[in-house]
Symmetry: C2
Subunit: 499 residues, 2 copies
């Protein structure tokens, strides 16, 4: 092994320890720590994350990466280390171009914006957040000018989440979707809706935790490499492929919520648990591409989890754990978990109308960064699009433009990932059926772990080493298209709603 590679490995080992405790402090704050402990945790978090950031932009790292990027050194590396050096060098060069004062300014703007958003959402008053949003947009443009000079702005913003994607592809597939989904949803909404009265009432929270365990077992979550916690908003977090944590929330009056959060976060976790462990502790591990990550969580949650056959082998067990479900037939349950509603909140939307929530945000982001729409115009734009796609108008800012925290954290370009994930899922479903056989049958026979194994093999083990487009091309062998997803929606909901 070359001296420089050895140095890089040692350097990464140290960085990983700082990253480990930073991640752990965050995990602890969300899942366990008492309120009065937050300040001390926040102080430690600031210290260790700053130390970690300093390591990521140090002269020492720069020299190591430059040495390893010389042709002689680079060619001697194996594929994994070639990827790591190339990727780290690219990040380093990008970040290095941001002037220190601009970076610091952006951190300050973001910190202020996050508090302002919380306050604004609480008060349901967009005017509290608007001036911060304006500054965030400005500094985002400024930074992109340094990191991606000469590149179209919004495409540059999409890149960290959907590497290799660009808005012309997204425009094309989102337009395909809109064309067919608007009339489909209109037909669904005009149809008779299922009776959800059996899902009212109080469902024991401890039993819901047991249901989560049963579901995670069922889909292939590894407890040797995973743990669970409780938080307001469910999320997945990983230290390495060997330690992946998911969280969930449990509502006494809404038992279905925790079930599908469990399956969704379980999908993210199964991905991370099955990345090649040799990639741990490097940028080759833990998948960075949000669209691919969401494709996995949403494949489990929607394509598998909202299929009636998914529940066939375990529906009796569900009734044993939550006795009220003994009084609900599988058919009634299936109708309810696929109940399409025109609602205000993205995170509570069904799988079909979810698409509109994302498209709306994507179109607004484009309007901001391409058409120069001002922050004052955004609530009007939001409401007009809600009316157009879902025929409802938010009654206040909290259930409209203020509902998501993404923008307050400076994450522009993130939203499309969610819907791209579903679009990829349509394509994946076709491929799974071509290679493994009819998914309804596989599920009905309780062979879901065969699908997990297939996803491990085809997608998960590669971690970050394949970009989204490379993954799709390798697995599905074709260009991105919304056609399979539209076909899947149309068939499924035509049957459910007797359209």
């Amino acid at each position: 092994m070359s001296k420089a590679l050895e140095e890089l490995q040692q350097y990464l080992e140290k960085m990983n320890r700082f990253n480990h405790v930073t991640t752990l402090l965050y995990w602890d704050m969300r899942t366990c720590a008492p309120k009065q402990g937050y300040e001390q945790i926040g102080d430690a978090l600031a210290y260790f994350s700053t130390e970690h950031f300093q390591m990521s932009v140090s002269e020492e790292l720069k020299n190591i990466l430059e040495t390893l990027s010389t042709p002689q050194e680079y060619e001697a590396l194996d594929d994994k280390w070639k990827f790591v050096v190339k990727r780290m060098k690219r990040y380093f060069d990008k970040n290095e171009r941001i002037p220190k004062e601009v970076f610091e300014k952006s951190v300050k703007i973001q910190t202020a914006a996050e508090s302002a958003w919380e306050e604004a959402k609480e008060a349901s008053d967009y005017s509290i957040f608007a001036p911060h949003l304006e500054k965030l947009i400005e500094v985002t443009k400024e930074i992109a000018g340094y990191t991606d000079p000469g590149r179209e702005l919004y495409d540059a913003l999409l890149d960290p989440f959907e590497e290799g994607m660009n808005s012309s592809v997204i425009d094309r597939v989102f337009d395909e979707l809109k064309k067919d989904l608007i009339p489909l949803v209109d037909k669904i909404l005009a149809s008779e809706q299922p009776d959800d009265s059996k899902f009212q009432g109080k469902f024991d929270v401890d039993a819901q935790v047991k249901v989560q365990k049963m579901l995670l077992d069922y889909i292939g979550f590894s407890w040797d490499k995973g743990a669970v916690g409780t938080t307001t908003h469910p999320f997945t977090l990983n230290f390495s492929s060997k330690d992946v944590r998911v969280t969930n929330h449990y509502y006494e009056d809404a038992p279905i919520s925790a079930m599908f959060s469990a399956i969704h976060e379980g999908g993210h976790a199964i991905f991370e648990q099955n990345v090649n462990p040799d990639y741990d502790g490097t940028v080759a591990g833990s998948c960075d591409y949000m669209c691919i990550h969401e494709s996995q969580s949403r494949f489990y949650e929607n394509v598998l989890g909202r299929n009636k056959n998914f529940w066939l082998p375990i529906y009796d067990k569900l009734g044993e754990l939550l006795p009220q479900f003994k009084e609900i037939s599988l058919e009634e349950f299936y109708r309810e978990i696929n109940h399409v509603r025109n609602s205000y909140i993205r995170t509570e939307a069904d799988e079909v109308t979810y698409a509109f929530h994302v498209i709306l945000r994507y179109e607004i982001e484009k309007a901001i960064f391409r058409e120069g729409v001002t922050v004052e115009e955004l609530p009007g734009l939001w409401n007009a699009k809600m009316e157009e796609y879902l025929h409802i108008t938010p009654r206040n800012d909290a259930e409209g433009i203020l509902q998501d925290m993404h923008w307050s954290g400076g994450s522009f370009g993130y939203f499309p990932s969610y819907l791209l994930g579903s679009i990829y899922d349509g394509m994946l479903l076709d491929t799974v059926e071509a290679e493994l056989g009819n998914v309804d049958e596989i599920l009905a026979q309780g062979r879901i772990l065969e699908i997990t194994k297939w996803l491990n093999e085809k997608i998960h083990r590669f971690g970050s080493t394949r970009t989204p487009l490379e993954t799709l091309s390798a697995v599905c062998g074709k260009e991105v298209t919304a056609e399979p997803l539209i076909r899947y929606f149309t068939k499924k909901y035509t049957e459910i709603y007797n359209l």
Copy 2:
């Protein structure tokens, strides 16, 4: 503020961050992390605890402490900082006298001894552990020769746990206890024993968790400053007075176990939560004296928790949470939680025979360090003392000499703390009754928080700033004596067992 004091404060801030993450890594490993994550956590733990240790023995710290110890600087400090500087200087000087190679040797011996003990306990074979124990004893002697030159060896070992205590005081009070408790226990064991058949069966674990919450609320645990976790062995751990964590275990077939562990650890936690927050992050905070700490946990667990009146205001609630308790009268419950048995395992012993388990270990430690008894002779000595005090002989090493992990970690001199804690509790009970009134009445009227408040005021808020003897003298106004504990035991068990 002097420049040196400012330097010390900044230095402590940094040390505390490293201490925070070291503590958190330990907490995470015990309460949450999956098995395959241990290796990475262990690596981070080794790194951050070594960094923390290096800071505690650095030249920089030495210089700061020396400056602050000069009369001019020292006299200008307030009481808190006087205590901190004096205490830190004493620790520093002690540790500095240990040659680096001796310290490193001791770490290696200890690490090997811990694994050997685990293996030995698993195999119930003392011969696996004996050679390691011998080395531990030797290196313990060697280190004490550096840290406490000229001091009697076993007294030096007691000091870190029971500062200011020495074996002549302990001998005196333990002998008082033995004189009266041996005949008392013999009489109890010869009496009719309660029927424990109603405590057999399966008790819902989720409900036990709710009982724990109810009990912690009841005794005054603050959830704003505290959290709970689940582990095999219950323990309490604190980051500061604002973040104190307790753990518990829940056995489906032994519901009483988790209740009393909750009260016991709750006692430790209430102590830490009520230390003066101004002491946080210094050696003045978090109480270092195990005997005083155990006096608080055992006061809640035994003096309060095993009093019938403690349960009067909450016994109905207990029945609501664990319905099987509706079929058990408070009287039957009271008999069972004070069921005296001659058993092998210290941690499972009732409050009376517990004394013998500790006295036995104390006498063995004295035999090792004063009389030069060899490791080969220890099992025989152990069994002879079990026969003498409890009239039983361990059937194997695992339930005899190998049962506790303390010695494998090099903790000699720790055991007496447990019993000293109970002895102090007898004295405290007298003082509480003199100042607040009859404890039976206070408990029966649901006014237990008045006792918690009294303990906060008299003991907890001082943290480490008062030694055990200073605390007793300030609170009880007298020398250490076992008489009140003996009186309490005699009265209580004469009534219960109709002696």
